[in-house]
């Protein structure tokens, strides 16, 4: 994990600095980063595993595959952080270096790296939670899909203990994980963040960043889809010309996506000759029927995500507002929420299955797991949104003696809206990832027998996991499932969310 983190930071630095210093690179790298951020990485994991494990068929290969996945999940937002930090270095500093005719490496060492340190630190803190989720998830999937599993890891540990009925160890493991999370986040990462504070050159309000919630907020803000919108906004696409340009941009992204998949396909046929070779491409009718099945499951998942989203909103929005309006509550609750939120949902899944009533319904378990993985984005963003409102505006209802209902309707909810939309976009992104764990979950005990813990009636996550686990893996289904899921997500983001986001940031942000 730490190896993956180190790799991520290195990668982020290279890509971020490169993108920020080179205009042409910027044009290519940024949209690519965006796409990589908004697709469900977990869906691609089986391909990665097969690719790497196929090349290095031993435990090292499997471990490498896991590292690659965590790396993938963590590096994008750090890269964005670096990019923004380097981009934001005041011109004067660059001029200074120009005048002292510094070399490229000197520049990097003396300006770019120090300037991006604080952003790296903050983004790392939050990347960590995401990485942990993927760590556990990927370990579990890896076990399911290959004969030689990754032998050590929390994910493995949890499922093995559980499947062999060793609940004491399972509980111990979770407690240990909580402790590790607390120590790591509040001691190590925070120290790193505080230390990097002195490398900060922008006049960002300091206390805002010390505040864990604000940190997550600024991180989520740089992330994925919201980033995409900000980019187009920054480039001055205004309301009147945007219809056309949006359309064009859409095509551009679509082409990029198709190219990406084509590349994957080629990569795979090279890595694993015989699996997908031009010689026996599946017939059109096979594709048709598989695709039909895939689409049906995709629709089921789509519906599932939305009703879980409604539940999350009903809980997250009021909760976030209530917490952030009360200072004392905020101070006590936010670190607790932070720890809970960084507990990876997959590891808790076996425990959830044990809950009476819920445990017997695959749907119930799926709902809980999806919520555990993504409700935090909504809560934290709402909290940060309310916190960033000026104190005076929160006091307005008092000054004009407005009723509580009216205060919520006119001040608090609209005030939280911008954060809420950002949170929603990220939460739904997280939910798609969580689906892959939530809809179909098996554990394998040391003897090699696999037990099915939970499954839903239908769902794209189930399709993906089943296709991965079948022997030999059903690549056609897997491929179609991942492609259609990604297309759906990206299309939905580009059409619906972007519009909502534009509207909300235009009207519902407070800048006097």
């Amino acid at each position: 994990m730490i190896l993956a983190l180190g790799l991520s930071i290195l990668f982020a630095l290279t890509i971020g600095i490169f993108a920020a210093r080179n205009r042409r690179a910027e044009g290519v790298i940024l949209p690519l980063l965006d796409i990589f951020q908004s697709i469900p990485i977990l869906g691609f994991f089986p391909f990665v595993i097969v690719g790497i494990y196929g090349a290095i068929p031993n435990a090292i290969g499997a471990n490498l595959a896991v590292i690659v996945l965590i790396f993938t999940s963590m590096s994008w937002n750090i890269a964005f952080g670096v990019y923004e930090a380097v981009k934001a270095i005041p011109r004067d500093y660059a001029d200074l270096l120009d005048m002292s005719s510094a070399s490229g490496w000197q520049r990097t060492k003396s300006l770019y790296i120090p300037a991006s340190l604080s952003r790296i630190a903050y983004n790392t803190q939050t990347s960590w939670a995401v990485g942990l989720f993927f760590l556990v998830a990927s370990e579990i999937i890896a076990v399911g899909s290959t004969a030689v599993p990754v032998t050590y890891g929390i994910g493995i540990g949890a499922t093995t203990f559980y499947s062999s009925g060793d609940f004491t160890n399972y509980t111990l493991l979770i407690v240990g994980l909580i402790l590790a999370v607390v120590v790591w986040r509040f001691v190590f990462l925070r120290e790193f963040a505080l230390w990097s504070e002195k490398y900060k050159m922008m006049e960002e309000p300091r206390e805002q960043h010390r505040d864990p919630i604000m940190r997550i907020y600024s991180w989520v803000n740089q992330r994925s889809i919201s980033k995409l919108f900000l980019l187009t906004q920054g480039k001055g696409v205004n309301r009147f010309t945007s219809v056309i340009s949006r359309f064009r941009r859409g095509i551009k992204y679509a082409v990029l996506i198709v190219l990406g998949f084509f590349f994957l396909l080629v990569l795979e046929s090279v890595m694993k000759p015989g699996a997908v070779s031009l010689g026996h491409l599946p017939s059109v009718s096979t594709i048709g029927s598989v695709e039909g099945n895939v689409l049906y499951n995709l629709a089921a998942s789509f519906v599932r995500i939305w009703y879980v989203y409604v539940i999350m909103v009903a809980i997250g929005l009021p909760l976030g507002i209530v917490i952030s309006l009360n200072f004392r509550l905020y101070d006590t609750v936010s670190p607790i929420l932070e720890v809970i939120s960084s507990m990876p949902a997959p590891i808790l899944l076996p425990a959830i299955v044990l809950i009476p009533i819920l445990g017997h319904s695959g749907e119930g378990v799926a709902v809980i797991v999806i919520m555990l993985a993504s409700i935090w984005y909504i809560i934290f963003n709402v909290m940060a949104g309310v916190r960033t409102l000026p104190a005076e505006i929160k006091e307005l209802p008092r000054v004009f003696k407005v009723s509580r209902l009216s205060a919520w309707r006119n001040v608090y909810i609209p005030g939280a809206l911008a954060g809420f939309v950002t949170g929603s976009i990220t939460a739904i992104g997280g939910a798609w990832n969580a689906l892959i764990i939530a809809e179909y979950f098996t554990v394998t005990n040391p003897k090699g027998t696999t037990t099915l813990l939970t499954q839903t009636g239908a769902g794209i996550g189930k399709v993906i996991v089943k296709a991965t686990n079948s022997k030999p893996p059903d690549y056609l289904t897997l491929f179609l499932a991942v492609v259609s899921m990604t297309v759906l997500i990206v299309a939905f983001n580009l059409t619906v969310w972007r519009r909502v986001y534009h509207h909300v940031t235009k009207r519902y942000t407070y800048n006097r």
Binding site: I393, E395, L396, V399, F400, K401, N410, R507, T509
Partner: protein, 261 residues
């Protein structure tokens, strides 16, 4: 509304601050902010409060508006004690504090939303009248984001006026406006507020701009550095309209400055 304005003569005290003190507590150690501050603002007066930055001017204003509690002392309007925000006091903020998601008209209406005695129609009428008085005719359906700073502050004033306040508190109302805009708004504000057709009986304005104070105020209360106490109370007997270029004007400016340094 308590009291009836007909019986009050110009200059009769409307709001009285009596021996107000405020301590902040830092690790149980009291940290005095305001020490024994007393002042009054009379009918048809505009009273300015000034002092070095960070001395607690705005805090004092918040106490007068019932938004903060004093450690000791009382604030009274006519004869009733201010214990919390009330309908006859209102506030205009330095940073306008408009709701960006509501139009000018809706922002003004928001100020009226606690008034149970008015129908929706009456509220709308009142709000429109206030917008008209502040020179915002035609901008009722515009969002704050599309208004200039000066216009935003006009909405702020309209929102305060519409509530029929007796006491109007203004916290550095012109200091986030550019010079020209502030100049124009200042010219109008005195006539707008101190005017028999409005409910406003007295105006209290926090400001650190001495020229602005001499231009607008009937009386200025000067506070010291923290912990703040009143170092001077100066009545400004300059006939209106006041000419900012006259020699007399500068004599007054100098006089106030002498208290500040």
């Amino acid at each position: 509304m308590p009291g009836s304005s007909t019986q009050l003569a110009s200059g009769d005290p409307i709001i009285t601050v009596e021996n107000v003190s405020l301590d902040y507590f830092k690790e149980k150690e009291p940290l005095p902010v305001l020490v024994d501050v007393s002042l009054t603002a009379g009918k048809d007066e505009l009273v300015a409060i000034t002092g070095p930055s960070g001395c607690g001017k705005s805090t004092l204003l918040r106490i007068m508006g019932g938004l903060s509690k004093a450690t000791a002392g009382t604030v009274k309007i006519l004869n009733s004690e201010v214990t919390g925000p009330r309908n006859d006091i209102t506030m205009v903020f330095q940073n306008f504090v408009l709701l960006p998601w509501r139009t000018s008209l809706e922002n003004v209406l928001f100020g009226l939303s606690s008034r149970k005695d008015l129908t929706a129609e009456q509220k709308k009428e009142k709000a429109e009248k206030a917008l008209e008085e502040t020179g915002l005719m035609g901008f009722e359906n515009v969002y704050p984001g599309e208004l200039s700073g000066g216009m935003k502050q006009r909405v702020g004033v309209a929102r305060a006026l519409a509530t029929d306040p007796e006491v109007m508190l203004m916290d550095e109302p012109f200091s986030s406006l550019d010079d020209l805009t502030a100049e124009r708004l200042r010219k109008e504000i005195h006539e707008l507020l101190i005017n028999p057709s409005t409910s406003v009986k007295t105006v209290i304005m926090v400001s650190h701009n001495v020229e602005e104070i001499i231009e607008l105020a009937d009386k200025v209360v000067v506070l010291s550095q923290r912990p703040a106490h009143v170092v001077g109370e100066i009545r400004i007997d300059l006939p209106r309209p006041r000419n900012k270029k006259s020699e007399e004007f500068f004599t007054w400016v100098d006089k106030v400055y002498s208290f500040l340094s």
